[in-house]
């Protein structure tokens, strides 16, 4: 796990602790947990549960961003996979439903990866295409209606519990460990970072940069599809208009808050997920505080700016401030 948690996570961990402390002040029961019907309940679990879609998206997004790319289509891919899962849920078994939904995500990722790595398009435009068209495709699948289902298997994916944890949280945890094991347990992560650092130099050094880029977009599509299935299972229906709407921005934000530079070259999976949790802790805190949800966006904007400025190359970061304090004391 040490490979997953570099020393540079300090700012994010501090930010999470500060926001958790603020949440504790506005809502004294924030840290209360209770076990009921074999599932844990409480605000903390709620944060984890609601943060799952963005956390899953950020797992794929962080790899894409590490190659100097960006994927704007993940929200639309969520809508597509959710629509497929909801339409098939009552007539097919869970295995078929999952295979179809994740397969659709894989195809979407393959399309994005093809545009970026083979046709050489700029990632932001290449994925904009699917972002615009994808939501239309999802509406085509549901024929513009909200498709509901009752299949207990799929509902369990959104609302069940494993060892006391909600199933979505367990899935996200599993995906984090799986992704971490694959990219950090092998040289894959290094090759992805090399591709983002300098694609041409890496290519000359023998890195299959095209394959790397294709692979990260495919993985991003699969993660988005999984998030879409969970979001659909959570509300027992698929709303092609609103499922995953603007979540691509939250996912990018989570990655940036997690300290991964948009200019590629290095990444941290665990900090990206931490970024997703920071966003969700903030959202839940504002809800619990009783302030109108209108404040949500304002607070988000301020926190984003603060985290960005802390990471700015032009400002002395946390390390610089700490060094100066030490000097002042001495």
């Amino acid at each position: 796990m040490t490979a997953l948690l570099p020393r540079r996570g300090l700012a994010q961990i501090l930010a999470l602790i500060v926001i958790l402390a603020v949440d504790r002040v506005v809502s004294p029961q924030f840290f209360d947990l209770r076990l009921q019907d074999g599932r844990l309940f409480g605000s903390l679990i709620d944060v984890l549960n609601r943060g799952t879609p963005v956390a899953l998206l950020s797992l794929g997004m962080v790899l894409v961003i590490a190659t100097r790319g960006i994927d704007l289509s993940v929200g639309a891919v969520m809508a597509i996979s959710g629509a497929i899962a909801a339409s098939l849920a009552d007539s097919h078994g869970l295995a078929v439903v999952l295979a179809a939904a994740l397969g659709a995500g894989l195809l979407c990722g393959l399309w994005n990866g093809f545009l970026v790595s083979v046709l050489g398009m700029q990632p932001i435009v290449a994925t904009l295409i699917l972002m615009v068209a994808g939501r239309g495709i999802a509406q085509l699948i549901t024929e513009g209606r909200i498709v509901t289902f009752t299949s207990p298997d799929l509902v369990w994916l959104g609302n069940g519990a494993v060892l006391g944890l909600p199933v979505p949280v367990a899935i996200a945890l599993g995906m984090l460990i799986l992704t971490g094991a694959v990219v950090r347990g092998s040289a894959l992560g290094l090759l992805i970072e090399a591709t983002g650092g300098n694609a041409r130099a890496s290519e000359l050094a023998g890195v299959g940069t095209r394959a790397m880029i294709l692979a990260v977009y495919v993985w991003c599509g699969v993660c988005a599809a999984l998030a879409g299935v969970i979001a659909a299972a959570d509300i027992m229906g698929a709303d092609a208009n609103n499922a995953g709407l603007w979540l691509e921005l939250d996912a990018i934000l989570a990655v940036v808050i997690g300290g991964t530079s948009l200019f590629g070259g290095r990444f941290s999976l665990i900090l990206a997920v931490l970024g997703a949790l920071i966003i969700q802790t903030m959202n839940t805190g504002i809800l619990l505080s009783g302030y109108p949800p209108e404040f949500n966006l304002l607070v988000k904007a301020v926190v984003v700016l603060a985290v960005l400025l802390l990471q700015s190359p032009k400002l002395p970061g946390l390390a610089g401030i700490a060094a100066r304090l030490r000097r002042a004391k001495a």
């Binding site: 960006i70 545009l115 046709l119 050489g120 398009m121 700029q122 932001i124 435009v125 290449a126 904009l128 295409i129 699917l130 972002m131 615009v132 068209a133 994808g134 939501r135 239309g136 495709i137 509406q139 085509l140 024929e143 513009g144 092609a240 921005l249 990018i252 934000l253 940036v256 948009l262 200019f263 209108e294 404040f295 949500n296 966006l297 304002l298 607070v299 988000k300 904007a301 301020v302 984003v304 700016l305 960005l308 400025l309 700015s312 190359p313 032009k314 400002l315």
Partner: protein, 326 residues
């Protein structure tokens, strides 16, 4: 004139598309439909003009939709609740949005942060601020609004060129002149071509960045005022997602997202193409609204692939002659 071929292609697609639509529905080829096309897309044309400058300079502005939303709410509240004369409200909101853009530009330049994330924060900030002002739709009943809405130039064939369409056309023309004929415009291209080179050649990169984002937000403010004329109301959820339509229009218009190439006229044609797709779907009546999104996506793909091919063709002879020289 490197920027010419993509614009020509956009123009050809627009004319061909219009001709195809007119063959199927002869009524489309009337000044009435064209007038409505201009009116319905007036705010998009204005905001896309500003976005063209930003994208040519190598940046991106995700905040424009939120600035439009904020403007409509601010104007509606100022006129209806605070009793401010409409003109004063317009000046105030334009000053506010220009300052907002300038601030984003300054943050991008001073702290060396990616425009994508800074304007994303700006998008949250502006949308949040408009939620804070009011979450309800506020109708505007000021007499100026009915005067402006009723004003229109009669076109032959029964069409109406409305006031907001005229404002849009003037801004597009002004934007094209600013981009293609002034030093400011030349600097925008230079920035998009290469920041470092532009800086070495004496372009004040920081000042330019601030001015470009200021222009984009200022035009988004005007688009917001036009949008409030269009709907006669201010609503904090208006123009959600417009930044994407805008970026799509700019790309379809032949502007490269990497910066350094593009034109305002191309963007205007891109806006018209998007409007034409919408009009066709309205005329057809059996096609559902999601086909708009799919068609826009397909068009986006076609244009980007075409540009990619053009760039590849343009590069090849250069490489060959370089090889011959050595």
């Amino acid at each position: 004139m490197k920027g010419l071929p993509p614009v020509l292609i956009t123009a050809i697609v627009l004319v061909a598309g219009f001709a195809l639509c007119a063959v199927q529905f002869p009524n489309i080829a009337s000044t009435r439909v064209v007038g409505n096309l201009l009116t319905d897309n007036a705010f998009l044309g204005i905001v896309a003009t500003g976005m063209t400058f930003v994208i040519i300079s190598g940046g991106i502005d995700l905040s424009v939709g939120s600035v439009i939303g904020f403007t409509t709410v601010f104007v509606a509240l100022a006129i209806e609740r605070w009793g401010v004369p409409p003109l004063v409200a317009f000046v105030a909101v334009l000053a506010l949005s220009a300052a907002f853009g300038a601030a984003m530009g300054a943050v991008i330049h001073v702290f060396d942060l990616p425009p994508f994330i800074v304007t994303l924060a700006g998008m949250f900030l502006a949308r949040g601020a408009s939620f804070l002002l009011s979450t309800e739709s506020v109708p505007i009943t000021a007499p100026v609004y009915s005067t402006v809405s009723d004003f229109a130039l009669r076109l032959p064939g029964g069409g109406r060129l409305t006031a907001i369409a005229i404002i849009m056309l003037l801004i597009v023309i002004g934007g094209a002149l600013l981009l293609h004929l002034t030093r400011f415009g030349a600097n925008v291209y230079a920035l998009g071509g290469s920041r470092a080179t532009a800086s070495l050649m004496g372009v004040a990169v920081g000042k330019m960045t601030v001015k470009i984002y200021m222009l984009s937000s200022f035009l988004a403010g005007i688009a917001g005022i036009v949008f409030s004329f269009y709907t006669s109301a201010g609503y904090s959820l208006s123009a959600v997602g417009v930044e994407l339509d805008t970026i799509a229009a700019v790309v379809i218009g032949g502007t490269l997202l990497t910066g350094g190439q593009g034109s305002v006229i191309g963007t205007f044609l891109g806006v018209l193409i998007q409007g034409l797709i919408q009009t066709y779907i309205n005329f057809d009546g059996t096609l559902s609204s999601w086909w708009t999104k799919i068609a826009t996506g397909v068009l986006l793909f076609a244009f980007i692939a075409l540009q990619q091919a053009l760039v590849a063709v343009a590069r090849r002879p250069v490489a060959r002659s370089a090889g011959a020289a050595s």
